[in-house]
Symmetry: C2
């Protein structure tokens, strides 16, 4: 099959772009482009209940994904991760039901595999030979892994402040690792120069449209795995907010397809108090975030002081009737322990932040006793041995 | 439903035991007990092709699993892991096809989740409140995790020679960790005393029958995911050999059910030259292994110098027309790199040993150019950061 994509539009000014060519951000305003689908055509082609018999990966939503040629799909079995119902965590939170969406079960151990699978597949569609991105966490490893699967050149700028495993994982998969002194913004700036010189394709978050589109599958899965019934709230750990936005777009499209009933589930962004630009902007009713000064948190995936996608994320949170909350690092580490003991999931600190956030939300009344809540556990704790060790406490 | 189990029989002397009570090893000879099923009843109840529509976990084979009451099933979405077809690895090996069975995608990052899911479920059936096992690797973490899911008491003896992550993972899931000076045999001996005192249920490998039975699902999946067609060889990293045996039993049962055609796929055991009791016994045509003196290998899961199950494993390898091979640690570390670069799977050293073994098997003629080969990648490299770092090579 070919795709149902009709084109790309700027999320800010609405200017349209041809998806049959490689595109970056909007030439007018530098904002992210969104992929548009012929939803009417999809509705006529596939029925919601046809999906049940399909492969247990994110590619079960083939018609809703942007890849042109089936042969270009690069899949390592990503997505359709378990939704684990936890009565213990639900009673601990004082809500009706809690599901932990265990994204650590993806290839490379995090939800980043979804963006990489979709992005690398589209790179194959477009005949791209080399891609580049900065990474301080899990995105680099995911792109390196999917790149390895098809021999795509992957160039990763890793800041010296990133955990050691970041560069090691990328190198293990054969990526070209460029080490840059400083933090993620230094790595980004360095890479901008190299990209221009080398004519690599820039796949930084929001800089190409297809990472976001792969992450929409998280939203489709939450709907399908709950029998196409809306949960009351989806709690998401928010750094760049790409996946939060993906979930929002997914549900908007599902409603338009008639596969789920409105309204949207409330989308709730959790950040660390050490880096909470989205929470600050949400609380001050700002349209966009301000760069968060002096950012620092144990949850390295949440360390995104500013992003060209934050404005869109704020719009999504508000549109869904959701909210945003920040939790301190100590609460995140406690939540790693609680999730492992009560929820039987050894989660990354970002993933566990959803539980810490849910506790605080329940206390301030943003989660109610009758609520059915999804905690999106974005990654596996196995990639963060120091944090897990702190959470486990001292030995006997 | 209740189960199709008819009873337990000693793998050595054939003595039978009642599965409705908690059982250990044979009281006559101390050998493992095997679970027997009413395969005729299963054949009349379920058709092979009914399975396609079932949940993508190992519990899709519900009739072939020993749990009595559905409500006792403890599932975190284990099994039905991807079979990744790798043309690159196949051409590198010079064989027709290679699939990597990516077991690192299980809960707790290894195939041990299968045994723990089945074993903990049966413990619930039997009303057991506390279980105990020694662990130098991934079994302890798996039991701790599944125990946490249902509040089962899990007591884990961890030898001081085990990697640090072993005890940390168990503690994170709230298990009672008993630290013992020395190696795995010291931990075992220490635990034997405590088990007698405390009346814990012993779930060491082969000491209860249901871990093995859960691992059979690996064999069912390989068959189903290949369209019920036999691969020529299944290459398995062999420590205690529990899963190798599980795959053998699965295929014997599938043939009896008429779901696959005979003969069996060749089962090939890979060990490290640092601990190769099964390979030695196989090569010397011995019936059982001798304890391997001075054992040591980077692949800690292969560090099983002796086991009450090795005799049965040797029988299974020979019955299938398979073989056994040992590879040095340097080849295992190289294979971690090759699997990450060419196969796009960041594998544990045990998992990568299958690739090192396959290279050696091809060289000595035990794999042929027309062979279709499954490499069982038992665990994720994320649990072995030091090994992955060595495999990745120096940065900069």
């Amino acid at each position: 099959m070919t795709s149902f994509v009709t084109g790309l539009t700027c999320s800010e000014c609405g200017r349209t772009y041809d998806h049959r060519e490689a595109q970056g951000t909007c030439v007018e305003d530098g904002r992210p482009l969104l992929v548009e689908y012929d939803l009417g055509g999809i509705r006529r082609t596939v029925r919601r209940d046809d999906l049940a018999a399909r492969i247990p990966t994110m590619w079960r939503y083939r018609e809703l994904l942007p890849v042109e040629e089936d042969e270009n799909i690069v899949s390592l079995g990503e997505g359709f991760t378990p939704m684990l119902l936890s009565d213990t965590v639900a009673s601990l939170l004082g809500v009706a039901q809690v599901w932990i969406k265990d994204e650590g079960r993806n290839p490379t151990g995090t939800f980043k595999a979804r963006g990489a699978s979709c992005g690398v597949s589209r790179a194959m569609d477009l005949g791209i030979s080399d891609v580049a991105l900065p990474t301080a966490g899990n995105a680099g490893g995911a792109w390196a892994c999917y790149g390895a699967a098809v021999g795509l050149g992957v160039h990763v700028a890793v800041p010296s402040e990133a955990p050691a495993i970041t560069a090691i994982e990328c190198r293990a998969h054969g990526a070209d690792v460029i080490e840059v002194e400083g933090a993620i913004d230094a790595a980004s700036r360095h890479l901008d120069g190299r990209i221009a010189e080398e004519r690599w394709f820039d796949v930084s978050g929001y800089r190409e449209p297809y990472r976001l589109d792969g992450k929409r599958t998280l939203g489709f899965e939450i709907a399908e795995q709950l029998g196409w019934r809306r949960p009351d709230a989806i709690v998401y750990p928010t750094g760049g907010a790409l996946a939060l936005l993906g979930i929002w777009r997914a549900w908007v499209q599902l409603i338009e397809l008639g596969w789920v009933e409105p309204p949207l589930p409330r989308l709730i962004a959790v950040q660390s108090t050490g880096c909470a630009p989205v929470v600050r902007a949400f609380e001050s009713r700002a349209e966009d975030t301000e760069p968060f000064e002096g950012a620092g948190t144990v949850a390295s995936g949440l360390l995104v002081p500013a992003s060209i996608g934050h404005k869109l994320a704020l719009r999504a949170i508000r549109h869904s009737g959701g909210t945003a909350i920040a939790v301190p690092d100590e609460a995140i580490i406690d939540a790693v322990a609680t999730m492992a003991r009560e929820g039987a999931v050894l989660a990354s600190p970002e993933a566990a932040a959803t539980l810490a956030g849910a506790v605080a939300l329940r206390e301030r009344g943003d989660l109610a006793p009758e609520d059915r809540v999804v905690l999106v556990a974005t990654g596996s704790g196995h990639k963060y041995p120091e944090v897990v060790e702190r959470a486990a406490g001292p030995g006997g």
